[in-house]
């Protein structure tokens, strides 16, 4: 990718800039699409239509219109808020979630950085997200914001454990933290003669690991049924309450970017990343990006689907689920996968 860019751009900082801005473009276009999709999915699940007017065909331009509206809005900072931290928080939130994309292999030809600590880096940098949310909640000087932020802290700290343990169980199989290498290990269609070599088919325990990972990633990205930090109906938006205009928009963007990030990590770890499900058919760097984003979007769609199916958990139920079910199960699963690796 870098060589390809250098073929028509002046070398040096410009290439680096273009190279690093690609995930941002993907996130922005994806967010425009995903917010529209979310509203359409919500509408149709509730036998409504969702946006229909803006832009003509099924209201495809609704998010663009919302974005333009949001940019024009007044940027309000509450009088008693901590101005600096309040203004800073959304940028840190988005930076944390954008920085994590650097270790995601979008295709065989593009990965932001081939760092060997890939997954570990992603897990570490996304922790910054909870810092920014606490920043936003506390700086707002509003009890609902602070409640939301504190719920986030508790939730993120708890759910990072099953996430990391399920990721670790994949790492036992791969032996590397570099996501590009993890993806390359899943190339080919040898499993049972026709199934792709994806880790989800590697062993039955891998399927359990994926389910655990998916549940934990829902909680990590604060999606329903684990959207307690926001919980519009009880905390009026939680840490977002005092935000308006584009600062609020950045939190929204972060939420959607986070969804995509965790979906892409899930797709890379369990569903072969940029590998085509048909072996060498429709394979290559460009098709790779297509498959990667398609797999990510399917998982994002499942997240939306779940959002409009399940009610929100209570705080104690949330903690119950995490500490009494997910964490023991993921540890048992980790041991079983390790045994499976030793025996076969």
């Amino acid at each position: 990718m870098q060589q390809f860019l250098e073929s028509f751009l002046p070398a040096g900082p410009v290439v680096v800039f273009v190279f690093s801005i690609i995930p941002l473009m993907i996130i922005l276009i994806y967010a425009l699409f995903a917010i529209w999709l979310e509203r359409k999915v919500a509408g149709h699940i509730q036998d409504r239509l969702g946006p229909m007017q803006t832009g003509g065909w099924h209201g495809w331009a609704q998010t663009i219109a919302d974005l333009l509206k949001m940019i024009q809005k007044e940027d309000i900072v509450p009088a008693k808020a901590d101005r600096f931290l309040f203004k800073m928080a959304p940028f840190i939130a988005f930076a944390a979630s954008y920085a994590a994309f650097v270790a995601i292999p979008f295709s065989s030809g593009y990965i932001g950085s081939m760092i060997d600590v890939g997954v570990f880096y992603i897990v570490a940098i996304t922790s910054l997200l909870s810092v920014s949310i606490i920043m936003a909640g506390w700086a707002s000087n509003n009890k609902w914001s602070l409640l939301g932020a504190m719920r986030t802290a508790a939730q993120t700290v708890s759910y990072e454990v099953p996430t990391v343990v399920t990721i670790l169980s994949v790492i036992i199989v791969t032996g590397t933290l570099n996501l590009m290498e993890v993806t390359e290990m899943q190339t080919g269609n040898a499993f049972l003669g026709f199934l792709p070599n994806w880790f989800i088919f590697h062993s039955p325990f891998m399927m359990i690991a994926f389910v655990l990972f998916f549940i934990a990633s829902l909680a990590e990205s604060h999606r329903v049924p684990f959207d307690l930090p926001e919980s519009e109906s009880e905390l009026v938006g939680g840490y977002q309450t005092e935000y308006s205009g584009m600062r609020w928009g950045l939190f929204m963007l972060t939420e959607y970017a986070d969804m995509l990030l965790l979906s892409l990590v899930g797709a890379t770890l369990f569903f072969g990343g940029w590998n085509s499900p048909f072996g060498s058919f429709m394979d290559g760097p460009v098709w790779g990006a297509f498959w990667m984003l398609l797999k990510g979007m399917v998982l994002v769609f499942v997240m939306m689907w779940l959002r409009w199916t399940l009610p929100r958990l209570r705080v104690d139920q949330l903690m119950n689920l995490c500490w009494k079910y997910l964490i023991p199960l993921s540890f048992v699963n980790l041991v079983l996968i390790a045994l499976w690796e030793m025996i076969f």
Partner: protein
């Protein structure tokens, strides 16, 4: 342990049941009516807005009297003998100019009580419901098609006719007096008498009708004023 496992099983079973239901609904036809573009079919006999076919109105005021909230305001002018207002589509002869037919839809309670008494079926409920305005005075719909000039003309003609009739009557009275005097004097002239009486009589009824109308109007006004005063007094006492 067994409980934990059975709970887990139940959790997943219910989640998948729910997801099945939502997935089915994802593809069922939506119930949305995209209002300004699509409209629901209105039921028969909807009561949405009053309409008056003024060509058929004979100015009988039955609707005005039927209205429980007094939202209809009708004014009529008697037509002169030389005017032919024609017939309504139901075959009623029109005898009154309807110079004012205002319906205040802001007051209207949509009871449809005004529609049924109408002898010519000219006041009806129509299927129109998008007539909200920024000023409630815009909700007073005038239905009379007479221009101010026409109204003036009709009033003038009526006055002239009344004047003419009064003069005729006076003349008739004078003639009668003279005749009576003459009769008293012994002379007999019976030939013109019934004709005079007839014309005199009609002038009297017309004059009487006009006076009666004015009296009725004054009475109604007085009643209204009294009621208003009463209401205000009540309000004040409540305060």
């Amino acid at each position: 342990m067994v409980k934990a496992l059975s709970d887990t099983y139940l959790t997943f079973k219910t989640i998948f049941t729910g997801m099945g239901i939502t997935f089915r609904h994802l593809f069922t036809k939506s119930v949305t009516v995209q209002y300004p573009l699509q409209r629901d079919v209105l039921p028969e006999r909807v009561r949405l807005k009053l309409h008056v076919n003024i060509d058929d109105c004979i100015g009988c005021r039955l609707c005005e009297r039927a209205c429980p909230v007094e939202c209809i305001d009708i004014g009529t002018i008697k037509s002169t003998d030389d005017d032919d207002l024609g017939e309504t589509s139901t075959g009623h002869k029109k005898k009154l100019w309807v110079d004012k037919f205002d319906i205040d839809m802001a007051k209207c309670c949509y009871c449809e009580l005004c529609v049924h008494p109408c002898p010519t079926d000219c006041i009806t409920m129509v299927e129109e419901y998008e007539y909200s305005t920024y000023d409630r005075n815009d909700l007073i719909f005038p239905f009379s098609d007479m221009t101010p000039e026409q109204i003036e003309e009709a009033n003038r003609k009526l006055e002239e006719e009344a004047e003419a009739k009064r003069r005729k009557k006076e003349e008739a009275m004078l003639a009668k007096k003279k005749k009576a005097e003459a009769q008293a004097a012994g002379g007999e002239a019976e030939g013109d008498k019934p004709k005079d009486a007839a014309s005199g009589g009609s002038a009297e009824t017309s004059g009487g009708g006009d006076k009666e109308k004015a009296a009725r109007r004054a009475e109604r006004e007085a009643r209204r004023a009294a009621r208003r005063a009463e209401r205000e007094a009540k309000k004040k006492s409540e305060e």
